[in-house]
């Protein structure tokens, strides 16, 4: 069995199953803890609280204006990375193809040149984010192995994807295998480290928005 056929076969199976099991494990482990009913009289009825929760998912994407001077640059850099990754994942033809193969959904991809530019910018942003994490005093204090592992495990798919798209450094088959394997590594790691924020960000913002809407407090 070649590296590529392993990556496209058993590797994909194992990574997907671990990913799915891990996600459910972590989410259920959190949400089945003992919950307490809130008795204090809410300021807003249930539908408004639900709406507050849902809206907070969107409003927390941009920090309040008052915070911009201090966090604006870091947030912007982080968004350059996230948006770049989004463009690659959802605008790149081979990724749309995978989504189609799994879910049957499809949409037109972006021109290759756009993806190339987005990939380069995403890679640069990732590197700058690492430099920032290594030099900013707050981030140096906070950062644990999880932060660096998660960075590397995101960096590798982007880097191998660029090499694959450029069909350079090694043969197409090898690059494709490495790219797929790096994504499988990411899938295996995701539920267990900080990359879980792909799901927790929605849950956390919603819960805060819901609870604070209950109080009529600022979200």
């Amino acid at each position: 069995m070649t590296l590529l056929s392993f990556a496209r076969g058993p590797g994909m199976q194992v990574a997907s199953l671990i990913f799915i099991a891990g996600m459910f494990w972590r989410l259920f482990g959190i949400f089945l803890l003992r919950r307490r009913v809130a008795h204090a009289a809410a300021r807003h009825p249930f539908p408004i609280r639900l709406l507050g929760g849902a809206v907070t998912i969107f409003t927390r994407t941009i920090p309040r204006r008052t915070f911009w001077p201090r966090v604006g640059a870091g947030v912007a850099l982080s968004y350059v990375f996230h948006v770049g990754l989004f463009i690659i994942l959802f605008g790149g033809a081979p990724h749309i193809l995978i989504i189609h193969e799994i879910f049957g959904l499809s949409w037109p991809g972006l021109p290759r040149g756009v993806i190339v530019i987005a990939s380069g910018i995403t890679l640069a942003a990732l590197i700058l984010l690492l430099v920032r994490r290594l030099t900013h005093p707050v981030l140096r204090l906070l950062s644990k192995p999880d932060d660096y592992i998660s960075w590397a495990i995101v960096f590798l798919p982007v880097a191998t994807g660029i090499l694959l798209s450029g069909e350079t450094i090694a043969s197409y088959g090898t690059l494709l295998a490495l790219h797929i394997l790096s994504i499988e590594a990411l899938m295996i790691w995701l539920p267990f480290g900080k990359l879980m924020h792909v799901s927790l960000v929605f849950a956390g913002r919603f819960v805060l928005g819901y609870n604070f809407s209950r109080k009529g407090a600022a979200t």
């Binding site: 924020h197 960000v201 407090a217 600022a218």
Partner: protein
């Protein structure tokens, strides 16, 4: 009249109790707290919202870093992967040394003001996590004794942070009533409105009790102070004494129920409002049979309905929001209604309202003597903003803030006057 007992003599504290800290940490973790503890991506934005980091540049004051011991304990004891954390040693176990090392992060350098919770892109209520962390720290014996911990102990023992008994309070109220020429109602068997007081008012701003009486008399509904449940301060809350916190709360609830109150009015205070408005029903176990209002909410509501009538004042002023009332409590609008009705020329502070900066004294920090430098650092922000507003007066509706602004102002030699919104209304009621 001196109703305050002196703080206990300084002794070397016993070493932090690790097993009690652990149990204190894990006692109250439900899905929301767990979600918060799982979600941090180490982005560092919370530091940029915190007055203590912003003013000192010390990364240790990063809000999410303050709760690190709580988080690691959660990971080891309660998290979905707890067995792996323990088995592979992925998170360090608590030690006396680390608990002690974190004491000033959890107490001295956190007002539980919630600015960090406002900025967090993952929706983590970090301020609440600090409150949770204090549960474990208190159990370990790490509430700073000089003097937050001492006051909390006194409150647990006597029901009041300064040991004020019901009898003494009753006498005090009648004295104040006489001194201000205001009719006092104390321990009425039936009352629709029951006001409470902050011990800071008792200690430093006794005029506020007269002001409450004046306004409630003006309002005309049957009201009464209850000396069996008057002290809303709840130092136990900020110290992290869960049992003490509940005891104080239940006492007030019982007092209000016993006279059939329809409305419980919280004084010019921050955490007492948070506690009674948003936590008391949970401690009680079911819906409360009365509304809970902050004094500003009571005033605003009744000004809008015309039941309280005020005369206009010719003043230019700014307003300092109490974090627990506005950002955390949802009552940001009420003071503006009042100030508008009074015709005050309001120069809002930068970041006024929900995003305001804490005065630096909240969350029990004003009760920690050694935290003075940190309070001064936080106050410097307010001073700058207040002076930039161009207003000669700053009103507030929290005695904790009022006192902190007073002290800070005097120490820095400013010319601004600090006023109470409650007393402003009481002084300008239309007859």
């Amino acid at each position: 009249m001196n109703v305050i007992s002196p703080p206990p003599a300084q002794q070397a504290p016993p070493p932090a109790d690790v097993s009690r800290a652990l149990r204190g940490f894990i006692a109250d973790v439900g899905p929301t707290v767990a979600l918060s503890l799982e979600s941090c991506v180490h982005c560092g934005q919370c530091a940029e919202a915190c007055q203590f980091y912003v003013q000192t540049g010390d990364p240790r004051y990063t809000p999410i870093h303050k709760i690190e011991l709580f988080k690691q304990t959660y990971n080891r004891e309660l998290g979905p992967f707890a067995f792996a954390y323990k088995f592979f040693g992925l998170a360090p176990a608590l030690t006396t040394e680390t608990l002690t090392e974190w004491q000033d992060l959890v107490y001295d350098s956190c007002n539980m003001c919630g600015r960090c919770s406002l900025i967090c892109p993952m929706g983590i209520d970090i301020a609440d996590l600090v409150e949770q962390t204090r549960h474990g720290m208190y159990q370990a014996g790490l509430a700073p004794q000089d003097f937050l911990g001492a006051i909390a102990e006194k409150e647990r023992a006597t029901g009041s942070p300064f040991g004020l008994t019901s009898e003494k309070f009753r006498d005090l109220l009648h004295e104040i009533g006489a001194a201000h020429g205001v009719e006092m109602h104390v321990d009425e068997p039936k009352a629709e409105i029951v006001p409470t007081v902050s011990s800071i008012d008792v200690k430093t701003y006794p005029g506020s009790m007269a002001a409450i009486a004046k306004i409630l008399n003006h309002l005309g509904q049957p009201w009464s102070f209850r000396t069996d449940g008057f002290d809303a301060d709840n130092a136990s809350l900020t110290a992290g004494d869960r049992a003490g916190q509940d005891a104080v709360t239940q006492g007030i609830v019982a007092a209000a129920i016993s006279c059939g109150a329809k409305t419980l009015v919280m004084p010019e205070c921050g955490h007492s409002f948070t506690e009674m408005r948003w936590e008391a029903a949970n401690a009680y176990g079911k819906d409360l049979p009365f509304r809970v209002l902050h004094i500003t909410e009571l005033m605003a509501e009744n000004i809008q309905s015309g039941k309280i009538r005020v005369t206009k004042v010719k003043q230019t002023a700014t307003y300092h929001d109490a974090c627990q009332v506005s950002r955390r409590g949802g009552a940001t609008a009420a003071p503006r209604v009042i100030l508008a009705a009074l015709g005050v020329d309001l120069h809002e502070l930068e970041d006024a309202g929900d995003a305001n900066w804490c005065c630096g004294g909240g969350g029990g920090v004003a009760l920690i003597k050694r935290a003075q430098p940190l309070r001064d650092a936080a106050f410097a922000i307010k001073k700058k903003q207040i002076e930039a507003s161009g207003a000669p007066i700053v009103y507030t509706s929290c005695s904790g803030c009022r006192q902190t602004l007073d002290h800070g102002g005097k120490a820095s030699g400013w010319t601004t006057t600090v006023g109470s919104l409650l007393e402003l209304v009481a002084d300008n009621l239309a007859s």
